[in-house]
């Protein structure tokens, strides 16, 4: 059996375990390629039935419009429920202090909105598109990752997870983060998208865009999220996004790759990791992701 078929079957199995074991699950959807892949896998797992969970997006207010439009179109097209909660609202109602300064990002504040949303809907499981190849703390996490009522991951007390037997039993207030594509690599996701002819937001492909050159990275000027400073250089370049996250912490890559084949060729040839190339939030310290996960981040 081809490896993509194996990975697909494993992911579908995990999604159905969520459907079978939990009362109020949710699928965390960002409009990025990994969560789009999750939606495609959910279609394979549950059609012709409805999804046993809504799609949930935690919107930082700093997302790319292309990704938001894509999100709405997709939810509409498949006829599944989409719940959106805004970091902006959490900042206002909870009087959160927004980070300021040169490379300020709301990425960290997402966790507050996510935990509030989990509480609001009493979600007992949240499916996410995290992959173990992304980052070294993620490389350690179980497929069913039990979080306490504060959403915290305790890497020293992970449950044993044997064969394909997943234990989703939890106490009230706890929840489980579930990662069906844990074992997929970036390239596996792209190859799967090509094989399955999955649509993606246009910003994954080469396009011309205005950017700020900052610390060697190309950051989008879109939406005025990043405020240019006096010595910042503004350029127009042919770029694509290798990952699609919050505008404030996702850098663009110079690229001429306008088709899936060209993108895959580029990724195959690259010598830099996905998050290393594009994510500012992981480069704060050697344990940046571990610390965020302990704080409730997915």
């Amino acid at each position: 059996m081809d490896y993509l078929d194996q990975l697909e079957s494993e992911a579908i199995h995990i999604m159905r375990e969520v459907a079978g074991q939990f009362e109020r699950p949710a699928l965390l959807f960002s409009g990025g390629k990994d969560s789009i892949t999750l939606v495609h896998l959910a279609l394979k797992a549950f059609r012709p039935g409805k999804f046993p969970f809504p799609l949930v997006h935690i919107d930082t207010g700093h997302n790319f419009q292309e990704a938001l439009d894509f999100r709405d179109d997709l939810a509409n097209c498949i006829g599944e429920k989409l719940i959106v909660r805004y970091v902006e609202d959490t900042i206002r109602t909870k009087k959160l202090k927004e980070p300021t300064g040169r490379n300020a990002t709301r990425n960290g504040l997402q966790t507050f909105t996510l935990l509030d949303t989990i509480e609001e809907f009493e979600f007992d499981a949240c499916i996410g598109g995290a992959r173990r190849d992304e980052e070294k703390a993620r490389a350690k996490e179980r497929v069913f990752s039990v979080r306490d009522e504060f959403g915290s991951w305790d890497p020293k007390r992970q449950r044993p997870e044997l064969w394909n037997l997943y234990n989703g039993r939890i106490h009230k207030g706890e929840n489980v983060r579930v990662f069906p594509i844990s074992n997929w690599t970036e390239l596996d996701v792209w190859n799967y998208i090509r094989r399955e002819k999955i649509d993606l937001p246009s910003i994954y492909f080469a396009h011309e865009r205005e950017l700020i050159v900052r610390d060697g990275k190309l950051m989008a000027t879109a939406g005025g999220v990043i405020k240019p400073e006096a010595d910042d250089q503004i350029v127009t370049r042919q770029v694509r996004f290798r990952t699609v996250g919050d505008i404030s912490c996702t850098a663009a890559s110079p690229s001429e790759a306008a088709t899936l084949d060209a993108v895959i060729d580029e990724i195959q040839a690259t010598r830099i990791s996905e998050r290393g190339e594009t994510r500012m939030d992981d480069q704060l310290s050697e344990a940046a992701m571990e610390d965020r996960k302990k704080g409730g981040y997915f």
């Binding site: 059996m1 394979k44 046993p52 350690k140 020293k156 997870e161 234990n167 990791s273 050697e286």
Partner: protein, 417 residues
């Protein structure tokens, strides 16, 4: 392309993480920014050498202590095969994490320090690998540079291990002398050991035969995960059983039996994402439709009627105990086999297995963290299973603590007691 999942096991300082680092580094699977990150981290330590182990020790406390606490997964690929590396902790305290990592692997690399030969950890990890039925074992005799690349040292260790393998009934063992630190026989052939003419580790990983590892030739088994019932006007009568074929094959028209009820029916249709198939096999996730109305829900096991599983309320099993609370005769747990769960109580500890000598001790009434034993459980409802030796998918089970909800035991089921 094939996918091989393998685990690296061995004692604390045998150099497992270094071996993985070497495998990734020499197969050019480490990306520039990852390498820069470990170079930075290496510099902040004393010796200044690049520490390849930092690639896999992903937790802060692991880097601080220089040990692996929990399983880390790594991914790489060569033109011949894709690999998932499971880097497991060597320390006895974290054995349960090693068992977690090993349970899905097709191959285990057992590292042995050439200076120390077969030690306690080698015996324990080999025992776990054999209990878990990992089909392929590689004994990586590491740190050959520290014994002057001596063929005699290597041969002695092979003899020591062969003795152990015989006791464990492990058949497929491959021995490779190497130095992970210097890269000898990991990816590139060593110039320092002209007396060794076998494969390098990577060559072996790329070519080891995997064709029988999915259990396609075993009896057809399908634990039901979820029932799909759209209940819409146009799909009013649609009722599909969603699950993954864990072993064997299912054909349209096959007679099937449902456990635990024992009812029979025939397969009307097999669906994958809306496409109808005449046949499906392990490990595909599919939807089955049956010709008659049978009461089936999550937790039921659909099997091909030509080879039935064992169905019983008393079951004998090998147990790997994974909790700090003691396991005692009379205790109650939740037993999960496939998608089925039932309460159970411990009727007997037949014997405890000494993980070093493999001797069996009888008259034991409690077990501690990381103990192994043969036990007998009594279940509230009948469970349907196969012997783990014959079928990993329907012979593996877990025990869940009813109050903490934690997974506390791994079971390799043997048969009706």
């Amino acid at each position: 392309m094939d996918l091989l999942r393998f685990i690296t096991a061995g004692s604390v300082d045998d150099g497992k993480s270094t071996l993985i680092g070497r495998l990734l580094y020499d197969s050019k699977s480490i990306l520039v920014d990852q390498l820069e990150a470990i170079e930075r981290a290496s510099k902040s330590r004393d010796d200044g050498e690049i520490d390849l182990a930092l690639l896999t020790d992903g937790l802060r406390s692991e880097r601080e202590q220089g040990i692996t606490i929990d399983v880390a997964y790594r991914y790489f690929q060569t033109p011949k095969r894709k690999f998932i590396i499971v880097d497991a902790p060597g320390h006895i305290q974290y054995t349960r994490n090693m068992v977690t990592g090993a349970s899905n692997c097709q191959l285990a690399i057992v590292l042995v320090d050439a200076r120390h030969g077969v030690v306690e950890q080698t015996r324990r990890h080999s025992l776990i690998a054999s209990l878990l039925g990992i089909p392929h074992i590689v004994v990586a005799v590491n740190k050959m540079d520290l014994v002057d690349y001596s063929q005699d040292v290597f041969s002695d260790i092979c003899i020591q291990y062969a003795d152990l393998a015989k006791k464990l009934n492990v058949e497929q063992v491959t021995y490779i002398p190497m130095s992970a630190l210097n890269g000898d026989n990991v990816v590139d052939r060593s110039g320092a050991m002209p007396w060794y003419d076998g494969s390098t580790l990577l060559e072996h990983l790329e070519t080891v035969e995997l064709s029988n590892d999915f259990g396609v030739q075993l009896p057809g088994r399908f634990p039901v995960q979820y029932v799909i019932r759209p209940q819409t006007a146009e799909l009013h009568d649609y009722r599909g059983y969603a699950g993954k074929i864990t072993s064997g094959t299912f054909h349209k028209g096959d007679t099937i039996t449902v456990f635990p009820s024992g009812e029979t029916s025939t397969i009307d249709a097999i669906e994958i994402a809306g496409n109808h198939l005449d046949m499906a096999e392990a490990p595909q996730s599919v939807v089955l439709h049956l010709s008659s109305d049978v009461d089936i829900s999550r937790g039921d096991l659909i099997v091909r009627s030509d080879a039935l599983p064992t169905s019983s309320q008393t079951v004998e099993a090998m147990l790997c105990w994974m909790d700090t609370k003691e396991f005692k005769v009379g205790n109650k747990y939740v037993l999960q086999v496939g998608t089925a769960r039932t309460r159970c109580s411990v009727r007997e500890i037949a014997y405890q297995l000494n993980v070093n000598t493999y001797e069996e001790t009888e008259d034991v009434d409690s077990l501690k963290l990381n103990d192994m034993a043969k036990i007998v459980l009594r279940t509230a409802q009948p469970i349907s299973f196969d012997s783990y030796q014959q079928n990993r998918a329907t012979g593996g089970a877990i025990l869940i603590d009813e109050t903490s909800n934690v997974t506390v035991g791994a079971l390799m089921l043997i048969g009706e007691a």
